[in-house]
Point group: C2
Chain length 384, copies 2
């Protein structure tokens, strides 16, 4: 009897779901949005809100919270009071935003929580909501393009002796890799920033679309891109980190990659880059292992302790000629609306460092559009 | 001046982060947990709570919400009142849980939100928190094992003509795949249930660990496992679904996989299985394309409309001899604590369907431990 009842429930649910799809397939219109607004590409399946307006670059948010006393939106450093309708639905519309990816939170009675209608992104060392603000033609380089071949992002765990646990990495493999079984590839190690994780470059950064586009256009050479975690993750049984992440990169990760994929293993075919703290990790890893890397990039991440850049980093720049001979490219980038290392770059150039490329992302701050642009500028310059 | 100030801030942050790691590296103890409790494996980086007790199978939760009036935990169908200390931190300890994966929510002043200290999982068609309850030796088959070779999960977008957009899939590739460049592989299509997505089997299901173990032990043949979305996702510009997901599987996905990977393309080397609604989709896809699949499984998903199972599914079972000749295996599984299709199985056997394998997961309901066990039982039986 109980089984029959549950069976009926199951069939009903199944029918309802089918009906929903059937309705959609018949072209029934979903909940209408205000003119000019569309669901954000970062929304989960079927969610209509948040909605974004590509022209005004505003976003509209909706939260169902009939019993809450106070609901706010926290987006790009500004808190917005949301207003409640009679059915307990809170809404608000943001100011115009910089295009690209932004973290946000909903504040319910003082507690910053996530919007369950958008995908979750790891940021500031906890799970966060994020929204993609669309834009016109510029964004083409980081959007999916069906007219070109696509690489694959592989989710892999490798064992770190130093860390004493398995560590998760994402590895971008260029589209041609499996069609060229005798070919070897150069490798770019690409690190996220503070508070994010090894999924940042693929999820928030759209790096696969960027690399697919550059390679298909012949602007970048086909390469493998390895995205590790920049944090010393630990076994949940102990949660005590051990080791130094730059050591883990150089001694555990690089050998694993060279063993697992068809790579060139000389320094001329190995590059490293990172954003923000990942840029700092790049300087530490590369300057500590100059025999391993010949190309490097720091995206909003050229952090110099003190102001004496020529003598910083244990004096790696002191002998400019030696540095120039070793390092084929030192790419340094920044957004114009954030801390700008331009003076350091000029000092280094005046000192005789010749292989610096300096890139400024116009009108952007310490945010993902800055870093998508940086990767798009950096990747064409390496392994050539 | 502004730049110098920001630089100092950046260096300070960088130093603080370094100090944190340095402290951990010197073996400084993190926040102590009550005896027997450890951080859940589903926690984000560095989060101490939720904490789980492997012996009592209880979980402890902690939420910082000083200005909230009422905070509850919602776990496995039960709501727990959380209690607040003087610093505004709310805690509670759950009843003993079934081991494996469970969704949960924190209810803040009536609004069900996520716990930002645990990884996010897509369930019930929105983002959710989840917790893994550890267990003793049984769980070995779904945990990472460093002593065996590991496959890779590849994140790929393929174009669906029927759906009119790119569709995301995860594809498990066995460890030996790249060491055997001339070998072809059979393919299992493995579908999630209602409200989850194409990441469910790898994130909630730990399928890579299960397959790695079965293949390394010689219990299952090396195979490719394709995990598609069981929902008709749509372009965010339109959000109007088109097409039938079983058609998308048969006409767009299977040809894409056979074009992209080294697969055997005959029906003897193609299987499909799914959990819950994914089991229903499996019956629809396989029974509608008997020339394409020779092996199938429904995990908690053998949904029969009406009670006349012999005549259900457009009469596919009517001619038992014909069905037996076509289908090498019809695997049906269930948890003992959920709707049980045992009677239907017995009716079909009595009717002359000989190739059914029926599996019951003892003591589990409509939940992930049931499905991890089902995959572990099913995969060894196919392609042999």
């Amino acid at each position: 009897m109980k089984n029959t009842f549950l069976l009926i429930i199951a069939v009903l649910i199944s029918s309802m779901v089918s009906a929903q799809f059937a309705g959609m397939m018949r072209g029934q219109k979903p909940e209408p949005l205000p003119e000019g607004f569309k669901p954000a590409s970062t929304n989960t399946f079927l969610a209509r809100y948040p909605a974004v307006n590509a022209e005004t670059r505003q976003a509209m948010f909706k939260v169902v919270a009939p019993t809450a006393q106070d609901v706010k939106l926290d987006l790009a450093g500004k808190k917005y009071d949301m207003t409640k309708d009679t059915s307990g639905v809170w809404t608000c519309t943001s100011d115009p935003q910089v295009v690209g990816f932004h973290y946000y939170a909903i504040i319910i009675d003082g507690v910053a929580v996530m919007d369950r209608n958008t995908e979750a992104f790891f940021g500031s060392n906890w799970e966060s909501s994020g929204i993609e603000i669309p834009e016109g033609p510029e964004g083409d380089y980081y959007r999916f393009n069906n007219d070109i071949p696509h690489g694959q992002i592989r989710s892999i765990y490798y064992w770190s002796e130093i860390n004493g646990i398995e560590r998760h990495i994402n590895v971008y493999i260029p589209a041609e890799y499996e069609q060229e079984p005798d070919k070897k590839y150069p490798v770019l190690y690409l690190v996220h920033g503070w508070g994010e994780d090894e999924n940042g470059w693929s999820n928030q950064g759209h790096m696969a679309n960027i690399m697919d586009g550059l390679i298909a256009a012949g602007k970048a050479v086909p390469m493998i891109v390895v995205m590790p975690s920049g944090d010393i993750k630990t076994n949940s049984d102990v949660r005590e980190a051990s080791g130094d992440v730059t050591e883990i990169y150089a001694k555990n990760l690089v050998p694993y990659i060279d063993k697992t994929f068809r790579t060139y293993t000389d320094r001329e075919h190995r590059a490293m880059a990172g954003l923000s703290r990942g840029g700092f990790q790049t300087t530490r890893t590369v300057f500590g292992n100059m025999d391993m890397f010949a190309w490097m990039g720091t995206f909003s991440g050229f952090f110099v302790r003190g102001n004496d850049v020529v003598n910083a980093f244990d004096g790696v720049f002191k002998d400019a000629g030696a540095f120039n001979k070793k390092m084929n490219l030192f790419f340094i980038s920044t957004g114009t609306e954030e801390r700008n290392p331009k003076e350091h770059v000029e000092t280094l150039k005046a000192h005789g460092i010749t292989n610096i490329v300096f890139h400024e992302s116009q009108g952007t701050a310490h945010e993902w559009l800055t870093w998508r642009r940086a990767l798009n500028e950096f990747a064409p310059l390496i392994f050539k």
